[in-house]
Symmetry: D2
Subunit: 434 residues, 4 copies
C-alpha cells in the first residue's frame, strides 16, 4: 500500500481491526451452528456474543502471538480474556485455522469489490454526464495519431462509458467469484465439522459455501478476481492516455482541472501538466502486476501449501487499494476535465479541409466521374493545399473540372460536419439505452 494512493475506507478493510472482527464473527456464527447441532452447549455459543461490541486489542493479540507463534490461537486466547476462559473453551471446536483465515480473506475481498463497484458506478455517472454534455462537440478522429474523419467528444466519452460498463459487469462477476467461504476442515472433508456449520457461517457472512474446498478455497477464483482488476486497470490507462494526448501542448483539446490556488505557474501558463492521468497510467501498471502472481498461486501442492499466502498479503490490499484510489481519481479527472471545443475545431482544420478529401472523391465517382479521374482531380487540389497552404474547398470550387461534375452546393455538402454526426444518436442509444 502506498499511503498517498489510498483511501481510508478501502484501507480499513485490510486493517488488523477489521480482520479480527471478521474472525470473531466467523467463530461466533460457527458456535451458533455447533450449538444447534448439539456439539457445543448453547450457553457457550451465547457467551461468545458478549464480545459483540468489543474492540479487540490488536497490540495485545500481537503480544500473545509473539509467544504462541500462531495468530489464530493468539486471537482465541485474547477472546477468552474477554468472554472468560470457561465460556471460550468451545470456540473454534472442530475448526481449522484456514476455515477462519480463508473465509476472512474472501469477506475482505468481497467488501473490497463492493467499494470498487461503487467507484465504478460513480465513474460511469461522470462519463455519461460528460458524454451528454459533449455529444455533438465535434473533434477530429485519429487513427495512428493522424487525422482521419470527424467524430465527437461525446462519442469518446461514450466509448469509455461502454468500456467501463463492461468492466462493471466483469467486476460483479469477479465479486461473485470470490464471495465464497469454507468451513470444511484440514483437508476439506468435513471430518470434524458438519457441513451445516459452513452453511450457517457463510450465510451470515454474506458468502456462498464453497462447493468443494481442500484446506483452502481454490485459488482459480482469486486469479480470476485479480485478472479482472487487471483488465479494469488497463481501461483506466486507456482513458488516461487519451487525456494525456488531448492535453499535450500541440493538441490542447482538454486539460485536467487546475484550481486557482494550485501551484502551476501563471508565469508559465502553458505549463499545466496532466499529472493525474500520468499518475493513473502508472497506477494501472501497479494494479496489473497482481495478475501474474495471482495466476501462479493457483497450482498449490495437494490439499494446500502456503505459498499463496504471502502473495495475497501483498496483492490483496495493494491491488484493491490502488484500484479504488485510481477509479476515484479518474472520476474526478473526468468530472472536472476542461474541454476546449474551439481548439478541437482549430486542430481539425489544420489541413484546411483535406480531411474531407475522401468524401469528395466518393462524391465525384457517384456523379459518374471515373475512379481514376476522380482521384486525379482530388489529388491535384489536395497537393495545392498540402504544399501551398491553400484551402481545399476554395480550390475545389475554383477547379473547372470539378465544377463540371458538381455544383458549388454539392461540393460544399462534402464539408458538412453533420454528415459525420448523423448517427451519434443511434450510438448513444446503444450505449446508454433510450
Amino acid at each position: 500500500m502506498i499511503p498517498r494512493y489510498s483511501r481510508p475506507e478501502m484501507v480499513a478493510i485490510w486493517s488488523p481491526e477489521t480482520k479480527f472482527r471478521i474472525w470473531y464473527e466467523i467463530e461466533a456464527h460457527a458456535c451458533d451452528a455447533q450449538a444447534k447441532l448439539g456439539v457445543i452447549p448453547a450457553e457457550s455459543a451465547t457467551a461468545v456474543w458478549k464480545a459483540k461490541d468489543v474492540e479487540f486489542d490488536v497490540a495485545r493479540i500481537d503480544e500473545i502471538e509473539r509467544v504462541t507463534k500462531h495468530d489464530v490461537i493468539a486471537f482465541l486466547t485474547h477472546l477468552a480474556e474477554i468472554i472468560g476462559q470457561d465460556e471460550a473453551r468451545f470456540v473454534h471446536q472442530g475448526m481449522t485455522s484456514s476455515d477462519v483465515l480463508d473465509t476472512t480473506l474472501n469477506v475482505q475481498m468481497t467488501r473490497a469489490a463492493d467499494i470498487l463497484i461503487a467507484d465504478m458506478e460513480a465513474l460511469l455517472a461522470a462519463l455519461k454526464k460528460r458524454a451528454e454534455e459533449h455529444k455533438l462537440t465535434v473533434r477530429i478522429g485519429r487513427s495512428h495519431g493522424i487525422h482521419a474523419e470527424p467524430t465527437t467528444m461525446g462519442l469518446t466519452f461514450a466509448r469509455f462509458y461502454a468500456e467501463m460498463d463492461r468492466n462493471l459487469s466483469r467486476l460483479r462477476a469477479a465479486r461473485m467469484e470470490i464471495a465464497t467461504g469454507a468451513v470444511s476442515g484440514a483437508v476439506g472433508t468435513f471430518a470434524n465439522i458438519d457441513p451445516s456449520v459452513e452453511a450457517h457461517v457463510c450465510a451470515q457472512m454474506g458468502l456462498v459455501a464453497e462447493p468443494i474446498s481442500t484446506q483452502v478455497i481454490p485459488r482459480d477464483r482469486h486469479a480470476m478476481f485479480f485478472a479482472t482488476l487487471g483488465v479494469i486497470a488497463s481501461s483506466i490507462e486507456n482513458i488516461a492516455i487519451e487525456i494525456r494526448h488531448m492535453q499535450r501542448t500541440e493538441v490542447l483539446e482538454a486539460e485536467e482541472f487546475f484550481s486557482k490556488g494550485q501551484k502551476g505557474s501563471s508565469a508559465m501558463p502553458h505549463k499545466r501538466n496532466p499529472v493525474l492521468t500520468e499518475n493513473l497510467t502508472g497506477l494501472a501498471r501497479l494494479v496489473r502486476m497482481a495478475v501474474v502472481p495471482a495466476m501462479e498461486n493457483v497450482a498449490l501442492w495437494h490439499e494446500r501449501d502456503i505459498s499463496h499466502s504471502s502473495v495475497e498479503r501483498g496483492i490483496g490490499p495493494d491491488a484493491t487499494i490502488t484500484l479504488d484510489f485510481a477509479l476515484a481519481r479518474l472520476t474526478g479527472v473526468v468530472e472536472n476535465l476542461v474541454i476546449y471545443p474551439d481548439n478541437m475545431i482549430a486542430n481539425m482544420n489544420k489541413f484546411r479541409g483535406l480531411i474531407h478529401s475522401q468524401r469528395v472523391l466518393l462524391a465525384l465517382t457517384q456523379k459518374g466521374v471515373s475512379r481514376e479521374d476522380s482521384y486525379a482531380l482530388v489529388q491535384r487540389n489536395a497537393m495545392r493545399v498540402w504544399e501551398e497552404g491553400a484551402d481545399f474547398l476554395t480550390e475545389l470550387k475554383a477547379d473547372p473540372d470539378v465544377a463540371k461534375a458538381m455544383t458549388e452546393a454539392e461540393i460544399e455538402e462534402n464539408f458538412d460536419l453533420g454528415y459525420h454526426t448523423k448517427h451519434v444518436d443511434t450510438i448513444f442509444a446503444r450505449v446508454f439505452g433510450d
Copy 2:
C-alpha cells in the same frame, strides 16, 4: 504456434484460407445489406455470391499484395478476378479495412472459443468419470506436502472438476466478450455506411454488433478473453502438478498411462516419467504469457493505433492453439491415469497410525480427560511410533492410562476411515448435482 503442440482443427481457424473465407463472407453479407438499402445494385450483391464455393488462391492474393502493399485490396482484386471486374466494383463500398479485419479476428476467436468449450466439456466428462470411479478410494490429504488427514481420490478429481467447471463458465463468458463485430467506418461514426449493414453482417456471422466502436473493436474485450485463458492455463497447471507429485518415485499413487509399445525401459521399470504433465506445466506458462500483452493492448491512441495487431498475430493463434492442445492432452492424461490405491494406503500408513493422533486427542478430551493430560497421553505414544517404529493403535491399546478412558473399541473407532469419508456424498452432490 509450435507444431508439436497443435491440433489441426484449431490451426485451421488461423489459416489464410479461413481468414479469406471470412473476409469474403463479411463482404458478401455487407453487399446484401447495402443492396437492401439501395446503396448498391441488387445484382451486384447477388454476383458476389458466385464465389460462394470457390477456394481462394492464397498464393495469388499474396502475389497481388506484394504489389499493392495492402492485404484487403489484394483480396478484393483477387475476388474481382473470380466474379468479374464489373460485378466486383461495389464490393467493400463504404467500408474500411478494419471493418473486415477486426470483425474477422473476432469470428476466428469466437470459433476458437467454441473449440475450447468443447475441449473443456470433454475434460469435464473425464474428470467426472474418474471422480465417480475413485469416489471412495482413500488417500492421505496433504497440507504443505505433509500428511494431514485422509481424503479420497474421488474428491481430488471432483475438485478439479469443480474448478474446470468454473473455467467453462468463464470461457463461455469470454466467448461472449469477443463475439462482437463492427462495420462502423474509419472512426466508428457510420458516416459512410448505415448501421443496418453492421447489424446484418454481425447477425450472419454469429456476432453481436459492437455498441460503440472506433476504427476497431475495443481491446478490453480481448484482454478479458486472454486473461480468462490465463486462468484456465493455471488450472491446467494445478492438475498437472498434482499428478506429477503423485507419480514421483516416493509417492507413486498414480502414473500417466504407458502403452506397451512405448519406449520407457522395462530394464528400468521405475523410470516412467510424467512427461505429459510436465509438458502441460510448460504449456500453461505459454498460454499465460499472452495475458500481459493483451492488457497492454487496451490503451490504443485515440480512435486506434495498430500496436495491438502484431501482438494479436502472435497471441491469437498461439494461445488458443496451445490451450486447445493442452486441454486435449490433459483429458487424455486424466482418462488414462493409472491409479494405485494400494500405494495410497501404504503411503497413508507410513507413520503407522499417527495421522489419527488428532482424533484420539479429541476423543480423550470428550471422555473427560483434561486437555493437558490428553495431550501428554497422545504424545508419549506418538513418540514411540515416531522414534521406535511402533504402531500407534497397538501402543494406545497397551497404554493403561488410555485404557482407563476408552475401551479398545472406542480407541479403534478413531482409526476408522469412514469417519473421513462420511460427507463425500454431500460434496459430490454439491459438485455434480444430485
Copy 3:
C-alpha cells in the same frame, strides 16, 4: 514465429536442419574426445566425420521418430544409415540425450545473440549518424507532453544511442550467460563420461563448460537472457513512442519514410501513418512476454523436469526472431526518418516566447528585482501572451517596469537558443567519446 516479422538468417538458426547439424557436431566432437580417452576406438571417431558435409534428411528423421518416439535415437539411427551401422555404434556412448539437446539450445541461443549483437551495432551506427546530423537542430523539450525548455533533435538521438549502447553491453553479458554447454550425464555427476569430453565439446562448439550442471544447464542463465531481451524490447518501444509522437498530425516534427511508390494517398497527403513504429510497439510486447515464463522456468524439480522445454520451444525462436526483426526495422526507421526542423521551430514558438519566461524571471532577480516583483512582472506579460495572443518578447520590451531592470539587449538575451545548446558538445563527448 510470425512469418511477416522474421528474417531468414535468424529463422535458420531454429530450423530442424541447423538443430541436427549441431547435434551431429556435438556427437562427433564427443567421439573424438572419447577416442582420445580410449573409451571408443579411434577409427569409430574418425568414421563419424564422414557425415561432415551431409545434409541430414529431416523427413527421414521424423519418420524414424514416429516409430522410436525419441528424437535423439531417431537422429542416431539416421546417422547410422549414413556412416554405417558398425561405425555408428560408439556414437553417443556414455551420453545422455540432454547432453546433446541442452548444449544445442545454448549453441542456438549464442548464435542468435551474435545476430542480435550485429543488429544492435547497426542500430547504433544509424542513431549516431542521425545524432550528428541533427546535433543542433533545435526542438522543444517536453515534460508531461507539455513544452518545457529547448533541446535538440541530436540530443534525442544521442540519448537513444546511449540507451542502446547500454543494451549492447547487456546483450553481450547475456550472450555470455548462455554460452555454456554440458556433457555431464543423467544427473550431472559425470558418472558415465569423463569431464574432458565436455571440455572438448564445449571448446569446439564455442562454449564454456557449465561448472555444475544437473541433467540440464541451470535455467537462471536463460531467464537472465530473456530478461535482457525484454529490456531491449522496452527500449525499442521507447524510441518507437517518441517517433509516433513526433509524427502525430499536430506535432509533425518527423515522419517515417514513405517511398514514392508506397500506397498512402496523395489525395490525403496528411495521412501518412507511423505504422512501423506502431508495429514496433507491439513487437516489443511480444518480446517482453518471454520474460515471465523464462523466470518461471528456473525452479525445476530436483535434477530436472521437462516443464521448461515446451516454453523454450516457444520463446527461444519467437523472442529472438521477433527482436531481430524489430531491431532491423527500427534501424531502417531511424536511418530514413524524415525530420522537419521548420516544424520543430514552429511548434516551439506556439506560445510566442513563453517558454523563455523562466529565464526572464531568473534574469530579473539577478538584476536585483525581488522574487515577488519579478514574478509579477513576468506574469502580467505572460498573461497577455496567453490570453491575447501577444508576443512575449514584444510585451516585455514594452513593459516600462521590465525596461527599468533590463536593456532591450539584455531582455533579448533570454530568448537566445544558444543558451540551451551550449553543453551539447559536452554531452556528445560523454555519449560518443571524443
Copy 4:
C-alpha cells in the same frame, strides 16, 4: 511493504527521514559546486552545512507540503527554517526538482543493492558450508521426479551456490546500472546549471554522472535492475522448491529447523511443515512481479512523463525489502536445514538396486554380451525386483546367464556408489575454486 516480510535496515532506506537526508546532501553538495563556480556566494554554501547533523522534521515538511502542494519546495522551506531564510536563498539555484528526486532514488536503490549484495554473500557462505559438509552424502538424483542415478547432497548445495554466485555477479552489475545521478535541468541540457555541479554531486553521493539524461535518468537502467531482482527471486524459488520436495512426508530427506519451543505438535511429530520455503516461494512471486511494470516504465513520453513515479513508489521499496527478507530467510533455512542421510539411502534403495540397472546393462555389453541379450538379462531380473519385491543384486548373482558374463565381484562393482561420486572433487573445484 508487508511488515512481516521486512527488515529494519532495508526499510530505513525507504523512510522519509532517509529521503530528506539524501535530498539535503544533494542540495548541500550542489551548493558547494555552485559556490566554487561563483554562481552562489561561498558563505551561502557553507551555511547549508549547518543542518548537517539536524534530523529533519518529517511532520513539519508534510505540513508545509499540504500548503505548497510541492514536496521539494516544502523541504526547502523547512531547510530555510533551520539554516535561516537568508542563508537558504541560494539553495537549489539552477536546479530542477527531478535533479534531486531522481538522483535520490538512485542513491536509495544503490544502498538497497549494497544490502542485497551483503545478503547474497551470507547466503553463499551458508551454501558453501553445507555443500562441504555434505559433499559425499549420497542421495538419489531425480529427473522428472523419478529416481535416476545417485548424486550427493553436496552437489545440490554446490549448484545452488553456483547459481547464487552468478546472481551475485548480476546483482553487482545491476547495482552499477542504477548507480548514476543527474543534475542536468528541466530537459537535460544543463542550460541553467553547469555540468561540473552534477559531477561534484554524483562523486560525493557515490554515483557516476549519467552521460545523458533528460529531466530524468533513463528507465532502462531501472528495468534492468528489477529484472535482475526477478532472476534472483526465481533462483530463491528454485532452492525453496527443492527443500519443499525434500521435506514432503514420503521423501523426508531434509527438514527446515524446528526449535524445541516452536509450536508444531509432538502429538503429531510428522506434521512439520516447510512453511519457510513455501513462504519463500510466494515471496519470489512478489519480487518477480516488479519486472513487467519496470519494463513498461521505460517508454516515457519525450523528455519525461511521470507515469513511472507511482510504479517506483511501489516496487522500489517493495521489491528490495521483500528480496532482502527472502535472502535472509533463505540463508537461515540453509544454515539450519536438518539433513537426513539415512533417509536418503533408504529412498535410494526403494527399488532394491534397480537404479543400477543401466550400469549392469553397460557392463554386460562391455563383457561382450550382445546389446539385445544384455537387455533381456537385465530386464528379466529387473522385473522380478519390480513385481516380486526381490533384490536386484541378489537376483543378478543368482542368474546363471549373468554369472557366465561376470564374476560376483564384477556384478557388485556396478552397485558401488563411488562410481557416481568420483568426480565430485572436480565439480567442487570448478564451483568453489581450489
